[in-house]
């Protein structure tokens, strides 16, 4: 098993390193041998060498720079997704995979074009929200936080249904995208620690069977506390 944590020191704005660490530890506890490459700007790589690729959130400027670094891998990464291999892009990182990003100063940056998505950014108001989402492939909701400055227009398979908080854009009922086993969501931070059932789901895709998740006690209990806090909040706002 080979894991790639891409832009580990450049797209790591909200503690995203823990997503990779959480997966590593779950694999360790299940006796799966693996290795992790942490690569960044200036490094080159072969997508097909990997079984799992992860990219986290960055500042808008960092995302734009990372996009230029990723651009030459467009076809190879496209093949990776077509083959159904597993990748997780959280925060603004999956915007790189869409058709275009229009920045706050109206510069249009072409994306990799692997997803049918466009982003329009502004620099006046930060778009932030605690959220509860639901996924048809998970038995429990997801909790987390959105922190971005753009409006996303996307077609294709949606990843999550919005139960509370913001989705792709104001008023949107869905958030994120799934293409085969590429998961793209604006959830920021250690989303796999906060949602251990999502971590377990990804691990199952990687190892072909349900992993033993008994090591995730605090994560599971922490998830329930946050879900309760968010539901209370949602109730109070209603």
């Amino acid at each position: 098993m080979k894991i790639l944590h891409l832009y580990h020191d450049f797209m790591n704005l909200y503690g995203e390193w823990a997503n990779v660490r959480a997966l590593e530890r779950l694999l360790e506890k299940n006796g799966i041998s693996f290795s992790t490459d942490k690569l960044s700007l200036g490094d080159s790589f072969e997508p097909e060498d990997y079984d799992f690729i992860y990219v986290g959130s960055g500042t808008e400027r960092n995302r734009n720079v990372a996009l230029e670094h990723l651009r030459p891998y467009k076809d190879k990464f496209g093949d990776y997704i077509e083959k159904g291999k597993v990748a997780l892009f959280t925060g603004n990182s999956f915007e790189m995979l869409g058709k275009s990003i229009t920045t706050a100063d109206d510069t249009i940056i072409e994306g990799l074009g692997l997803l049918d998505a466009t982003v329009k950014e502004q620099n006046k108001t930060r778009i932030t929200s605690d959220v509860i989402y639901n996924a048809d492939f998970l038995s429990k909701p997801l909790v987390g936080f959105i922190n971005k400055c753009g409006r996303l227009e996307i077609s294709g398979d949606k990843l999550f249904d919005v139960e509370y908080g913001l989705g792709d854009s104001e008023g949107a009922k869905t958030e994120g995208v799934r293409k085969n086993n590429l998961f793209g969501t604006h959830l920021t931070g250690p989303a796999l620690v906060k949602n251990p059932h999502f971590l377990v789901y990804l691990a199952e895709l990687l190892i072909g069977q349900a992993p033993d998740d008994s090591s995730l006690g605090y994560e599971k209990a922490g998830f329930e506390v946050t879900l309760k806090a968010l539901k209370e909040r949602a109730g109070a706002e209603r």
Binding site: Y14, G15, L41, G42, N147, K194, Y218, G222
Partner: protein, 442 residues
């Protein structure tokens, strides 16, 4: 006439508000409704000093005011920390004559970072101190570059910037502008490698090529240079030349020794920025050093306490601010006599709702993995998240006690153990700890 009435009403509301213990932003809010450009219609003093940044604004402003007042200057400042345009308006109008002239020699304004562009639309500071830009309250602030862009809009060309040379993002404000820099020489407590979970200095803020550090003071604060575009730390006009945290002493510009009431690197930067401002206003370095020696901040962020036979210190830190936590953790981990440490995360913020705990993963809890640390007590509503976070450190699990209820955690600390106690938590949660302490004393 409009100015007269607006000032009068603001003053009356302020008096009434004070009588019933109300905050200081409402009078300004109403004044701005009556006369939106009131701030540009008031005659301001010769010196208008603005202070902003992620951390240390309140402490720095308090120190500047202390020095200036000691040296006979009349200073108006927003001591209650109302640092958005409404609070600043209340300050300015309360300190004005009814004719619209601010009565003091110096107007000293602590300003919120994101809203500075509104406050300084009508007021042009003569001097503008920017202390640092960290990952701070990212659930509202987005990220440091977002704050940088917002702050950039608040800077007037004629203002002289006073910048922390050791913070690469802050220094970037000085490119192409009038600026004075303060910072620290290589210090004994410095490290060659970064001690932090993340590195906001890894890449150049100007061109995004990798940066190289010759020394780190803490986190990404240090001596840096871009490997590509030539952007680098600027020479400093006001400089910490040495620090002895064990002894509790710092030396500025090689000649002024200041003894420290609070032995943290944080504190020395706040003192240095206050020193810089006071020097620019013309106060003698020796006098500043005397005024700052053993100065104890009045803002109650560091509180010592006794729990029967045990002694401890509450280090008020900011949730959602990893550098603030790292500083507190550094103090605890340096306690050679041995200490227990308690963390409380019960409400993430006192001002707004969020349940986001991502920031715990930016804090370098690993620093507690040393022989100085006895037990680590985790408490508050988000104790599971704290426990999960600690499980990603190499700290032995037998050192960690999880006691969800704050009251019970305090009861647990109230033991025969001899170790000193550090309680590390935020404004939003410290009251719950202090109440329990007070309750027990009764």
């Amino acid at each position: 006439m409009k100015v007269f009435f607006t000032i009068l009403i603001c003053k009356l509301l302020r008096l009434a508000g004070k009588a019933v213990g109300h905050g200081s932003s409402l009078p300004g809010q109403i004044a701005l409704k009556l006369c939106p450009d009131i701030l540009s219609r008031v005659k301001l003093p010769q010196y208008i000093i603005a202070v902003t940044g992620s951390n240390g604004k309140t402490s720095t402003v308090e120190m500047i005011a202390h020095i200036l007042k000691k040296n006979g200057k009349r200073v108006s400042w927003n001591k209650e920390g109302s640092n958005q345009i409404e609070g600043v308006t209340t300050l300015v109008l309360s300190e004005s004559t009814l004719g619209g002239r601010v009565k003091s020699d110096i107007l000293l304004i602590e300003s919120d970072e994101r809203f500075a562009r509104y406050t300084f639309k009508y007021i042009t500071p003569t001097h503008y101190v920017i202390t640092n830009l960290y990952r701070d309250q990212l659930t509202r602030n987005g990220h440091p570059e977002w704050v940088f862009d917002a702050l950039k809009d608040s800077i007037h060309d004629e203002t002289e910037l006073i910048l922390n040379a050791d913070d690469p993002l802050v220094s970037l404000f000085g490119v192409g502008r009038k600026a004075v820099y303060f910072g620290a020489d290589k210090l004994e407590s410095d490290t060659a490698e970064l001690n932090s979970v993340y590195n906001d200095g890894a890449y150049c803020p100007a061109c995004k090529a990798p940066m190289k550090y010759t020394t780190h003071h803490y986190n990404h604060i240090g001596h840096y240079a871009c490997t590509s575009c030539g952007y680098k730390r600027q020479p400093t006009s006001y400089t910490i030349t040495s620090v002895d945290l064990d002894k509790g002493e710092m030396v500025i510009d090689g000649k002024y020794t200041i003894t420290l009431a609070l032995k943290s690197l944080y504190n020395i930067y706040n003192i240095l920025s206050a020193y810089t401002v006071a020097s620019i206003i013309g106060i003698d370095g020796e006098k500043i050093a005397r005024d700052m020696s053993d100065y104890v901040l009045k803002n109650g962020r560091v509180i010592t306490f006794e729990l029967k036979s045990r002694k401890g210190t509450l280090l008020t830190s900011k949730h959602e601010n990893s550098v603030s936590y790292d500083q507190s953790i550094r103090v605890a981990s340096a306690c050679k006599e041995g200490c227990d440490v308690m963390f409380i995360v019960d409400a993430v913020s006192r001002k707004y709702f969020t349940s986001d705990v991502s920031w715990l993963y930016d804090i370098d809890f690993e620093m507690l993995n040393n022989e100085n640390i006895g037990e680590i007590i985790l408490s508050g509503r988000y104790f599971n998240d704290l426990a999960a976070r600690f499980s990603y450190t190499d700290i032995p699990s037998e050192k960690i006690r999880i006691i969800p209820e704050i009251e019970k955690a305090v009861d647990y600390l109230d033991s025969d153990r001899k170790e000193y106690i550090y309680v590390i938590t935020c404004f939003s949660d410290k009251g719950k700890f202090l109440e329990k302490l007070k309750g027990d004393k009764r």
